[in-house]
Amino acid sequence: MKKHPLYGLIAEFESPEALLEAAHGARAGGYRRLDAFTPMPIEGLAEAVGFEKTRLPLAVLIGGICGCIGGFLLQYYPSVMDYPLNIGGKPFNSWPAFVPVTFEMTILAAALTTVFGMLAMNGLPTPYHPVFNVPEFELASRNRFFLCIKARDPQFDLEKTKQFLKDLKAREVYEVES
C-alpha cells in the first residue's frame, strides 16, 4: 500500500456522549480504522471503536508463575545445593520458610510484567505521533474528545469522510499530517 501523505482526519467533540455517539456512527458508517483520544477513560468507548480485549492479563499470569518458580529456586539452589548449612536442625529444603520470599518474588515479577507489558503493548514511549501535529490536540488532555479516522481505512476519502464527520456533529474537523 502506498504511503498516504495524510495520517487521517480528526474530529473534535465537546462531551463524552457526543464522542460515543459519533464513534458508534462511524462504525455503523462502515469505518474500521478508528481511534479516539480523551482526557479520561470513557465507559464503552473501546467497544465502540472496535477494540478487542487486551491479552495483558495472560502475560501477567505467566510473569507471576515465572517469579514464583524463580523465587523458590533462588532459595532452593543455595540452601540445598550450593551452600547447605545446618540451621537449627532444619532440613536443607525447609520450604515453609521459603514461602515469604517466593510470594514476594511472584508479586514483583507479575507487577513488573504488568507495567512494562502495558508500555510495550501501547508502544510507549513513542517520541513521535502524528496526532500531535494538530495544535488543537493539546485539548485532548484537558476537556475535548477526539475521534480519528485513519487514512489507512479502505473507505477513507478526504472530502467524503470530512463531510461524514461533520454530519456526526463534530465541533471541528482537522486534517492530521503524517
Binding site: P39, M40, S79, M105, P127, S141
Partner: protein, 478 residues
C-alpha cells in the same frame, strides 16, 4: 442500584466543576509562585533533614556505640522508627489499591498524595535497618547473588532476609503504581506548558501519552491488575515485619496474633498520617473543593474502625497472657503496665484506644481542627506502640541477671527528627512539582461516564448504560 445509592450521597467533588475547571485549578498550584508558608515549611523540613544527616554521619563514622543500645536491649529506637514508617506507608496502598477494588470513588481526591506518602515513608523506613547494620556500605550483602566470598549465601530462613525482599518489592511496586497513575496528568501538564524546559521534561516523563482509547483500555486493565497485586502485597509486608518479632522466643513478641495486629495498626497509623497531611494540604494549597469535609469524615471512620481492631488486639494480648497461665507472658504484660516504661505504655493506650473514640461523634469527625489533633495523637500513640513492643519485651526477659534498661541518646533522637525532615522535604517538593490530585481520575469521577469501570457496569447492555449515563450527566455537566 449502585447509581441510586450514589446519588443520595454528597458528591465527592464540590462546586459543580467541569473537566476544564479541574485541569485549571489543579495545575494552577504548579504554575503560581509557592506561598511563604510553603517556603517556611521547606526551610523547617530541610533543617531537620540536615540535623538528621549530621547525626547519621557521626554515627556511621563512630559506630553504633553512639546509640543507647546495650547487650540486653539490642533493638530500640532505630527499629521502632523502621516499623513506624513502614506502617505509615500502608495507608497509601490501602487507598490506592484496596479502596479501588472496593470501588470507593471518593478516593480519587486523596490517592495521589497518599501514594506519594507511601513512597516517602518507605524511603524513610528503609534507611533505618541500613544504618543499624553499622557498616551500611555493606548493606547489599543482604541480597543473594553469586559472589567470591565463598560462595556465601544468606540464610533464607531468617525473617530479616524476608524483610529485605518484602520492602524492596513494596517500594518498587508503590513507585510504579504511582508513576503509572501519573502518566495522564503529566500529559496534561505537558499540553498546557509553553515550549521550554517544563514542556520538554513533562513530555519526556509522560512517555508521549496521547490519551488514545487503546492506551486507556490497557491502562485501566493495568490499574486493576496492579491493585489486585498490591493488596496481598501490602498485607504481606507488615506480616513479614511482624515476623521479625513473632518468630523470636521472647515473651511479648512470640505471638500468633502479631500479623493481623500489625497490619491493622499500620493502616490505623497511616490513615492518621494521611489525615494530618490532607488537612494541611487542603488549607495551604486551596484545595477545599477537592478534599472536602466528606473525605475527612470517611477517613476518620477508617481510623475509628482500624483503631477498634488495634484495641481488640491489645485486649487479646492481655487475655491470652493470663489465660495461657504462662508466667513469662504475664510478667511482660504487668511489667509494661507498671514497670519502668509504664509511661510509654499508658501514652500508647490513651492515644490509640481512648482518643479515637471521640470519632464516634459526627460533630468531631466534621470538625477539622479536632480531627487534625486526633490524627497527631494517633501517630504519637502508634510510635509508642512499637517502642513498647520492642523495648519492654527485651529489657527484662527470662534471666533477671541480664535485665537492663534503655534510654535514647541525642544522636538517636536527631536521627528520628531527620527522618521526619526527609519525609516532609519530599512531600513539600511533591506538592509543588506534581499535580497533587489525580486529574484524569477526578474528571472520571465527575462525569461518572468515565473513571475506572464499575465491574458490574461492563456487563449491562449498551442501551441501559447510555440511558443511565445521560440521567447522571444531566445534572453535573454545564
Amino acid at each position: 442500584m449502585a447509581e441510586a445509592h450514589a446519588a443520595q450521597r454528597e458528591p465527592a467533588i464540590a462546586g459543580n466543576k467541569t473537566p476544564a475547571d479541574v485541569t485549571r485549578e489543579i495545575c494552577a498550584v504548579l504554575d503560581r509562585k509557592p506561598s511563604g508558608l510553603w517556603w517556611a515549611g521547606l526551610l523547617f523540613a530541610l533543617s531537620l533533614l540536615l540535623t538528621g544527616g549530621a547525626a547519621v554521619t557521626y554515627e556511621i563514622q563512630t559506630g553504633i556505640g553512639t546509640w543507647g543500645l546495650n547487650r540486653t536491649v539490642g533493638w530500640a529506637f532505630d527499629i521502632t522508627n523502621f516499623v513506624f514508617w513502614i506502617g505509615i506507608g500502608h495507608a497509601g496502598t490501602l487507598i490506592s489499591a484496596i479502596l479501588f477494588l472496593f470501588r470507593q470513588r471518593w478516593r480519587t481526591s486523596v490517592n495521589r498524595s497518599a501514594e506519594a506518602m507511601t513512597i516517602f515513608a518507605v524511603t524513610c523506613a528503609g534507611m533505618f535497618p541500613i544504618i543499624h547494620m553499622g557498616r551500611p556500605w555493606l548493606a547489599y550483602w543482604i541480597f543473594p547473588y553469586p559472589n567470591f566470598r565463598g560462595p556465601l549465601w544468606i540464610n533464607f530462613r531468617s525473617p530479616l532476609a524476608w524483610d529485605a525482599f518484602a520492602i524492596g518489592t513494596y517500594f518498587t511496586i508503590s513507585l510504579l503504581f504511582w508513576y503509572l497513575g501519573m502518566l495522564p496528568d503529566l500529559a496534561t501538564v505537558r499540553d498546557r506548558a509553553k515550549p521550554g524546559l517544563k514542556k520538554a521534561l513533562t513530555g519526556f516523563l509522560s512517555l508521549s501519552w496521547n490519551g488514545s482509547v487503546h492506551t486507556w483500555q490497557r491502562y485501566e486493565t493495568v490499574y486493576l491488575l496492579l491493585a489486585g497485586l498490591a493488596t496481598p502485597l501490602v498485607i504481606s509486608v507488615h506480616t513479614i515485619v511482624s515476623w521479625d518479632f513473632a518468630t523470636a522466643v521472647i515473651p511479648g513478641w512470640h505471638a500468633t496474633i502479631f500479623p493481623p495486629y500489625f497490619v491493622a495498626g499500620a493502616i490505623f497509623s497511616g490513615m492518621a498520617m494521611v489525615l494530618t497531611l490532607m488537612i494541611v494540604a487542603r488549607k495551604t494549597m486551596r484545595l477545599e473543593d477537592y478534599i472536602t469535609v466528606r473525605h475527612v469524615e470517611v477517613m476518620a471512620k477508617l481510623v475509628l474502625a482500624t483503631g477498634g481492631m488495634v484495641a481488640l488486639a491489645y485486649l487479646t494480648e492481655f487475655f491470652i497472657a493470663f489465660y495461657s497461665d504462662n508466667p513469662y507472658e504475664q510478667f511482660v504484660i504487668l511489667n509494661r503496665m507498671r514497670g519502668p516504661f509504664a509511661w510509654a505504655f499508658w501514652t500508647m493506650f490513651s492515644c490509640n484506644v481512648l482518643v479515637p473514640q471521640a470519632l464516634w461523634f459526627r460533630r468531631v469527625r466534621t470538625n477539622l481542627g479536632a480531627v487534625f489533633a486526633i490524627s497527631i495523637l494517633v501517630n504519637v500513640g502508634m510510635w509508642f506502640e512499637r517502642f513498647v513492643i520492642i523495648v519492654t519485651s527485651i529489657h527484662r526477659d527470662y534471666l533477671p541477671s541480664s535485665w537492663g534498661s534503655y534510654a535514647p541518646t541525642l544522636i538517636e533522637i536527631l536521627t528520628l527528627a531527620g527522618s521526619f525532615g526527609l519525609f516532609l522535604t519530599l512531600f513539600l517538593l511533591f506538592i509543588r512539582f506534581v499535580p497533587v490530585i489525580a486529574i484524569a481520575e477526578v474528571k472520571g469521577a465527575l462525569s461518572r461516564a468515565g473513571g475506572h469501570r464499575e465491574l458490574s457496569e461492563a456487563r449491562k447492555p449498551e442501551g441501559v448504560r447510555i440511558a443511565e449515563r445521560e440521567t447522571v450527566l444531566g445534572g453535573v455537566r454545564t
